[in-house]
């Protein structure tokens, strides 16, 4: 049990606990805050797995931009606490839970049996340095890099068009 493993286990536990809070909590704002904590804990995990750049990207992009967008939309729609209605569909929920537990059990069994069997690709181990990642991104992955920028432009345009109010014809600020 070394320090890295201990911290990762702690971060993983926090991530799982707050993910549980997210799934269970009725209030969408509290759910969102819980998942922010989960993403933070995951960023800590990334650092421990020699991916500090990804940890920074996770916090800046995921926790700091995507979830803020979620927060804005939730507040814009003024979503109240989810109410209990008559349409509870207990059978569906029960079977869904059973299915998920079975699925998780299956995955865990697979993990336990073959967790350490992953081989090595012969490449040198990843250090915390960013230069090799940048080299990979701009040389081998240059095409996906450019394609993803076009994708972002497309999603930006799509979001704008979807959000436009048809009647007045002017965009929401």
């Amino acid at each position: 049990m070394n320090a890295a493993r201990l911290i990762f286990d702690l971060a993983g536990a926090i991530a799982v606990v707050f993910a549980g809070v997210m799934v269970v909590h009725r209030n969408p704002i509290k759910s969102l805050l819980a998942i922010v904590v989960t993403f933070f804990a995951l960023a800590v995990g990334f650092v421990l797995l020699s991916a500090p750049f990804l940890a920074a990207i996770q916090v800046i992009v995921y926790a700091g931009a995507i979830l803020v967008l979620f927060l804005f939309v939730t507040m814009l729609l003024n979503l109240q606490t989810e109410e209990e209605t008559a349409d509870r569909r207990p059978f569906q929920r029960f079977f869904a839970l059973v299915g998920i537990v079975a699925f998780a059990g299956m995955l865990l069994a697979a993990v336990r049996r073959s967790g350490e069997a992953a081989g090595s690709s012969g490449l040198p181990p990843a250090t915390g340095a960013i230069e090799p990642l940048a080299q990979a991104l701009f040389s081998r992955a240059a095409l996906p890099f450019e394609a993803v920028s076009v994708l972002l432009l497309a999603s930006l345009t799509g979001a704008y068009i979807l959000m436009r109010r048809e009647r007045s014809g002017s965009a929401a600020p």
Partner: protein, 101 residues
């Protein structure tokens, strides 16, 4: 001094299952979307874990693109939610069944 792969995968499986629970059992569209993002992150964690085990930077590259694509998808998805909400005044997925007979 490194993290054993089993630990990483257990956390990843737990997060994925919780995300799946949320996506299947909740009625609030925002929470469903958050659960989907949680599943994406669980997968990202697994990929980074394997990438670290295997060496090289392929894992980190894949996750980089996964995060960016998730951002694009979240933007469009939320725009759709807002558009649906404007039409229906609710975001309960059990009530937005326009296309059903």
């Amino acid at each position: 001094m490194s993290v054993p792969l089993t630990d990483v995968l257990v956390v990843s499986v737990a997060l994925f299952s919780l995300g799946l629970c949320g996506a299947l059992l909740r009625r609030n569209a925002i929470t469903i979307f958050l659960s989907i993002e949680l599943m994406l992150n669980a997968a990202n964690l697994a990929i980074v874990g394997f990438g670290e085990r295997v060496g090289g930077y392929a894992g980190q590259t894949v996750v980089f693109f996964a995060i960016v694509v998730a951002a694009a998808e979240a933007a469009v998805g939320l725009a759709i939610f807002v558009a649906v909400f404007r039409h229906h005044e609710t975001i309960d997925v059990n009530k937005t069944n326009l296309l059903k007979w």
